[in-house]
Symmetry: C2
């Protein structure tokens, strides 16, 4: 499944609610789901952990749609390796800690 | 680009650093980037906003790889519509606020 297909699917399922809720409420949901991901990491429940990754990505996709951003297009910044050093693997000195 | 291809690309670029940093430090980066997304929303800088969506997804992909989760497989929970009400569009009474 392409990133665009997933964003479109999430739009088909949730756009009506997302647009009524608005971007700030949708951002709040994204952060709430990120918290659920943190809890799933702590409890190490594999099934739940998998679900939470999907949910965070779904809410990120909802928010991108509200903001008029195509996530797959945005991801092109990684197509030539690290956007900062342009290497694969990344050779930047930062992002280690 | 499929979700799996993006996760693989991010792994190729960052896995060495991600694995040395570990899952907690990588989660911290995910949250930091989510904060940058919030700031880009506030400033309404379209170019920066697009970049921040890609960065949040990249860090989510890094974290999933460290946790042994395939994001595309995880996303299958949305393949039959809303995972709770199984409808497209979602008919759940929740998630509006």
């Amino acid at each position: 499944m392409t990133i665009t297909e997933f964003q479109r699917r999430i739009r088909e399922i949730y756009f009506d609610k997302d647009s009524r809720r608005g971007r700030d409420g949708t951002f709040r949901w994204l952060v709430e789901e990120t918290g659920e991901l943190a809890r799933a990491m702590r409890k190490d429940d594999r099934s739940n952990l998998e679900e939470e990754f999907a949910d965070v990505f779904a809410w990120l996709s909802s928010l991108a749609t509200l903001e008029g951003i195509d996530v797959e297009t945005a991801c092109a910044k990684y197509s030539e390796g690290c956007p900062k050093c342009h290497a694969t693997p990344c050779m930047c000195q930062e992002k280690i800690a």
